[in-house]
Symmetry: C3
Subunit: 160 residues, 3 copies
Amino acid sequence: MGAEQRIVELGIVVPEFGGAGYYGEHYGRMRPFRFTGNVLHLSGHVPSRDGAPLHPGRLGAEVTVEQGYEAARQTGINVLAGLRQALGDLDRVSALVKSLNFVACEPRFGEVHRVSSGMSDLMADVFGEEIGVGCRATIGVQALADHHCFETWATFEVRL
Amino acid sequence: MGAEQRIVELGIVVPEFGGAGYYGEHYGRMRPFRFTGNVLHLSGHVPSRDGAPLHPGRLGAEVTVEQGYEAARQTGINVLAGLRQALGDLDRVSALVKSLNFVACEPRFGEVHRVSSGMSDLMADVFGEEIGVGCRATIGVQALADHHCFETWATFEVRL
Amino acid sequence: MGAEQRIVELGIVVPEFGGAGYYGEHYGRMRPFRFTGNVLHLSGHVPSRDGAPLHPGRLGAEVTVEQGYEAARQTGINVLAGLRQALGDLDRVSALVKSLNFVACEPRFGEVHRVSSGMSDLMADVFGEEIGVGCRATIGVQALADHHCFETWATFEVRL
């Protein structure tokens, strides 16, 4: 079963970035994606939902691990929108190569990895183990734009 | 109009790294750039100017957004020096693929993106929209080497 | 002299990840490595030793620069294990392309670069200048998984 069909089965509602849309451009001069050969680079994606940050703030303070996980999952859904924007069809994705994940948190918060699993689990659910499980690193940071609690910087391999 | 001509028009003074120079090597064993095929990877570049950090410190404290923007712009100028060092000629750049940008800041500083636009705007001014606007992410961090307030980690595509 | 022989000379004990092992999978759904062409991407590697973090905590507080350097060196040894897992033989590595290094630290800690040299120096010692010295950037962060004080996110070029 392909990723497009999995999304329907899982009942995931992917936002419509279309040809031009991408909330990131609100933050400065950037483009949502760029190809080098069959490698697709995405700009940072954040947990925007209906135009507002989902669970803004910091882990270890006002944002719980469960909320952070949900924000990371929403970020993953926005990445799906970014992939459709770049590729038209999610079934052209051949691999999540890697994602670098940022969690806004208090000093000494020890569970950044549990937060970014919201993104990784979604990718695995939608694309399956072989395509959807990639390399990963997660770091706890001071601050992200607009007080988002999570951001991902992901790279995919695609069928041209 | 090419990038080399634009630099003259904009009156930008690009430092001379030459074949060997790159302030980064002061910080440890690294090389300023490395190619994989036609993809050019740069080491971290910082807002050094005349051998000293420009506006050292943290955003949200002693460094203003305007100063941070200026530091990011200076970093972009140093990236131009790094590109010349790697390529000889800036007109061999075919794309800014992506940049990951770091802003040293206080907790909960919400405008990291406004700072890194100093780098992005310069790239767009010098290379134009098609080549100079790439993917981007910006994160607020605890600390950078030598109390720099900004650093960029950029990847380009070039004509071999 | 090749890298495998250098490891013996230097008396480095590389842990055995084997085909399946990699401590990172303890932290969430990820794979230790992924190839795009002849570029090898590794997941984040941390200074685990015998199953526990080496020198956990933060630089500028309970972790000294010397301990941080040692943790970064241990991380490099784990990267060697990751390379063997991916390649079988370290002598297939043709270049350390780049590493992005994370140091958990107090605000305003100004020596993150001295810490990550523990990783860079090891790579240079094992692979030599031409192969083992790559691009680099180092940032000070709030927190890493399990209170590790260091993490690296590295990319290599290999002979297929």
